[in-house]
Amino acid sequence: MSGSPAMAAAPAGRPQRADDAGPPPHDIMERAAQWYALLVSGEASAAERAQWQAWLASHPHHRRAWAYVESVSQRVLAPLQNSPDPRLLADRMRAVDARTRARRRALAAIGALAGTGLLGWAGWSRTPLGGLMASWTADYRAGVGDIRAFTLQDGSRIWLNAASAADVDMDGGLRRVVLAAGEILVSTRHGDPRPFVVDTPQGRLRALGTRFTVRREPGRTFLAVYEGAVEIRTAGNATAGVIPAGRQARFGPDRIDAAAPVDPAREAWARGELIAWDLSLAEIVDELGRYYPGHISLAPDVAQRRVFGTFPLRDVDGALAMLAEAASVRLRRPLPWWISIEARPAAVPPRS
């Protein structure tokens, strides 16, 4: 047998209009699905294949049930198998599926609360297209394109960068901020004896009288300290380290990377600016993407162009127009929510 094993030997095409209308009994449909699973598993023995053939031959219901397998394979699965990169596609589909599930869960949870009158329905705020579930239930949040400032109960100030969310707990012996997503700038207030901490999945940051930013990155936390100092304690093995003012560092659950001099531009977002001092276009687009609810795609051949300048974060369209000038690239909008950044076409030579 050649080709996909499951597809051999069965009649192609849609299920025929059957002798009696409707699909075969449920247990036969189920058996057909089990045969399919065995045949695509790569584990079917020759004897099992023969059994499958015998099963098909033994009853018209069996063949009809198998025709449904065929029909799903040809109509739905084949176009995806033949797409240019099925693994990448499947991976992205998995991410979409996970986000849809998370949204439904949040909807159910909030619905349940609303039913009891505890929450009401006003708590929803705009969320990015990509979904940012943690922020839906967090105490403080900033949507795509927002930068928001909050004063906490103890007088400390926090600024949430775009697409960021944090929970705050001031009731225990700690002033505790849990960074659920994105980036936060903290300016702590002196005079409250309770320690001020920021938690991320990678560890706990303890402020030693201070102003600092914390940003979540995949699997890591980024910290930059502008005033005072911050103590890091990693979640995995409680490695401790103190980052003084003027230094920045990244850490994972088990180690703290070497600290480097702080980049003053990192703090500028709290003023609504992105300062680019020799950043690549890719880095800038990554940053601007946090302020734009759609999708920005960047052509790889221009991604490494260096850019200098200050860009307004509260006006992404304006920022992109400035960027197009600064990096001499072209903006295209194939869809209303999709911006494509590409090399400018070569100048047309003047006609002679």
Binding site: Y36, V40, V72, L77, P84, L89, V96, W121, R126
Partner: protein, 185 residues
């Protein structure tokens, strides 16, 4: 939005509900979606559904009507976001291909439709069954490879794949039945 209950004295008609809540729902949707055209579409769709399938117990107050409409609109947003994200997943996959790769519009439409359909089916399955099916049926991985990735036995993978395939077959059967009904005089 005020928190006072605004009681309805008699069961409100869809027309009255529309007058009371349409503009509000559209604004609410626009805040969620960030797009006036989508918001207008979904708001209309919400009222259409209300006509086709009225709320089971009617509404006693404006607040209650709004809670109901909001829950419905929320579900519609989730659906719309999924559609958009799937489109984006496909466009991203395309963008990752060499520049000279350009499938025809028809081919693209077929793939997109298949993606939307399978996403809807998979979202009703347990997450691991959905993943196992994508990896086996779309990526062509063996049950052993899938099992390793998901941390389950290959026997379990086969069970997941059978479960997902059965769900797809049932959906196919329903489609076929509907098509036959339409074809009948």
């Amino acid at each position: 939005m005020s928190a006072s209950p605004f009681p309805y004295l008699s069961p409100p008609s869809v027309g009255l509900l529309y007058t009371d809540h349409h503009a509000w729902l559209r604004t609410w949707l626009q805040r969620r979606l960030g797009n006036a055209a989508d918001a207008a579409d979904l708001a209309h769709e919400a009222f259409l559904r209300l006509i086709l399938k009225p709320a089971p117990h009617g509404f006693d107050s404006k607040l209650e009507a709004r809670a109901y409409l909001r829950a419905m609109a929320q579900g519609m947003c989730i659906y719309l976001w999924r559609r958009r994200e799937i489109e984006q997943a496909w466009l991203d996959t395309l963008a990752a291909q060499p520049a000279d790769f350009a499938p025809s519009a028809e081919r693209q439409a077929i793939v997109l439709e298949a993606l939307q359909e399978i996403a809807a089916l998979l979202s009703e399955l347990p997450p691991k069954a959905a993943q196992a099916f994508l990896m086996s049926a779309v990526c062509g991985m063996t049950a052993a490879e899938v099992g390793q990735e998901l941390g389950v036995s290959s026997r379990m993978v086969r069970k997941y794949v059978a479960q997902a395939m059965l769900r797809c077959m049932q959906a196919q059967a329903m489609q076929t039945a509907a098509a036959l009904r339409q074809a009948a005089p």
